[in-house]
């Protein structure tokens, strides 16, 4: 009867562990391990995917993501500045763009750009350009909001100091505010990069050639030729090669802090 609070908390914890073990055992017992092994761990099929899964698919995923991220970052910065502009039409344009591309599935955007742009402008972009526009166009909408938040997080006193030294509004923005803003948003920006890495799987819709395959397309293509889900597992692991270090980097940057915080200035 006389169980202390701490003891009771301990018992409840043990009960939770016990429940987890039971669930794990039930799942393990119910699953057909032979089938799982055959479906996901076919060594021959896995071997057949190398080295192209790395030299072609992983490489292309990285290239597509990097292109999309670079374009998205540039466009995102422009959108963020438009959103903070004192010129109302700039703010409207930025808001409409951001709300549209954040609210619409990336896949639909890709289809729209791939089929729509050639019809609208009677011109065909090279595949890499289409990838860059599509991935970057979607990424920019997310990054714009992150960058805007970063710019607004820079203490007002920094701009005042810059202006008091004779810097123009634009000069202060470029030299003082934006560098500090990027320090502040480095962790969330790294997360955008992770999301973009995974979004790059959607560009299978663009109908690529074999040497243009990225990881997901490569995995699905291999899948169609083999009686096993192994290619999907391999492709998934390859994504982790990219995303796990980025996730680690993001957490590291967050822990390290930004050094951008400054005492608030009162009037």
């Amino acid at each position: 009867m006389a169980v202390s609070k701490r003891k009771r908390a301990e018992y409840i914890r043990y009960a939770q562990y016990g429940l987890l073990i039971v669930i794990a055992l039930v799942v393990a017992f119910l699953a057909d391990w032979g089938q799982i092994r055959a479906a996901f761990f076919n060594v021959d099929i896995a071997k057949s995917m190398f080295p192209s899964v790395i030299t072609v698919a992983l490489k292309n995923t990285i290239i597509y993501t990097a292109l999309g991220f670079a374009f998205g970052l540039a466009l995102g910065l422009v959108l963020a500045l438009m959103k903070l502009s004192s010129v109302a039409p700039y703010r409207w344009i930025a808001t409409v763009y951001i709300e549209f591309f954040r609210g619409v599935p990336a896949l639909l955007v890709f289809i729209g750009i791939y089929y729509g742009v050639p019809i609208a402008f009677q011109m065909q972009f090279p595949p890499l350009t289409t990838v860059m526009l599509a991935l970057g166009g979607v990424g920019a909408a997310y990054m714009a909001e992150t960058i805007r938040a970063g710019i607004q997080a820079v203490p007002k006193g920094q701009v005042e100091a810059a202006r008091s030294l004779g810097m123009s509004q634009g000069r202060a923005m470029i030299t003082i505010v934006i560098p500090q803003a990027f320090r502040i948003i480095l962790p969330p920006l790294t997360n955008e990069l992770i999301l973009l890495t995974k979004d790059s799987s959607l560009i299978y819709i663009l109908g690529l050639f074999r040497e243009q395959y990225e990881l997901t397309k490569f995995g699905r293509e291999t899948l169609s030729r083999s009686p096993s889900l192994t290619p999907i597992l391999i492709a998934g692991l390859c994504y982790l090669i990219i995303t796990l270090p980025l996730g680690y980097l993001s957490r590291y940057l967050e822990r390290r802090g930004t050094g951008g915080a400054r005492k608030k200035v009162s009037a």
């Binding site: 202006r163 008091s164 030294l165 004779g166 005492k263």
Partner: protein, 255 residues
Amino acid sequence: MSETFVEITGLKKSFGPLEVLKNIDLKVDRGDVVCIIGPSGSGKSTLLRCVNLLEEPNAGKIVVNDVELTDPDVDIDSARTKIGMVFQGFNLFSHLNVLANLTVAQRKVLKRSEEESRRVALHNLERVGLSEKAHAMPAQLSGGQQQRVAIARALSMDPDVMLFDEPTSALDPELVGDVLGVMRQLADEGMTMLVVTHEMQFAREVADKVIFMDGGYIVEEGPAAEVIGNPQEERTREFLARVLDPTHHGPSDPV
């Protein structure tokens, strides 16, 4: 000899419905040190921030060194290079080291060469006694050191006048002396200075003129010894009594 360097006439400033400055007239002669004192909310910081147009006045005229800053066609950025400002919160550029803090505006605004801007920066760091901190980041410095760097940063633009907005209010008491020492040295060198401060000792010893502000007006102005030593206005007396001898006064009445 006495040549008017800063001239403010009929200055008014409101924030929304709140009228912070109500018709301010002020003259500062070249080489003079003017200390502005007064209770918080009296408008003294706003007045100072109007002098380099960090706050846009609603009415009135501000002339600094024969340039009318309130003229809509004035090149305010160029005018500001000649008006140094030091803030209560230091506002050093946190992503740049001390040397870069002192050179960035010289390079980008005055278009000085890297070599020249560096030379000017190091000279001014020496003036504030922080030569050895040239490569430190602002976050590695104490508040007093940061404020001295901020002074050196403003001096690196070779200003004709320096504005100090409560430069020691954010400092630990034992660090205040270093900053005031640098300011006194500047005053001795003949710099024209406008200082918003609560340091009565400094005002008494260094200021050529003391201005007491309350409720958006200049209530009293004159030589330091008179305004601080023998105030004529009741409000000045009340304020000084509270500042100079805080333990013998009850809480102030809410305004």
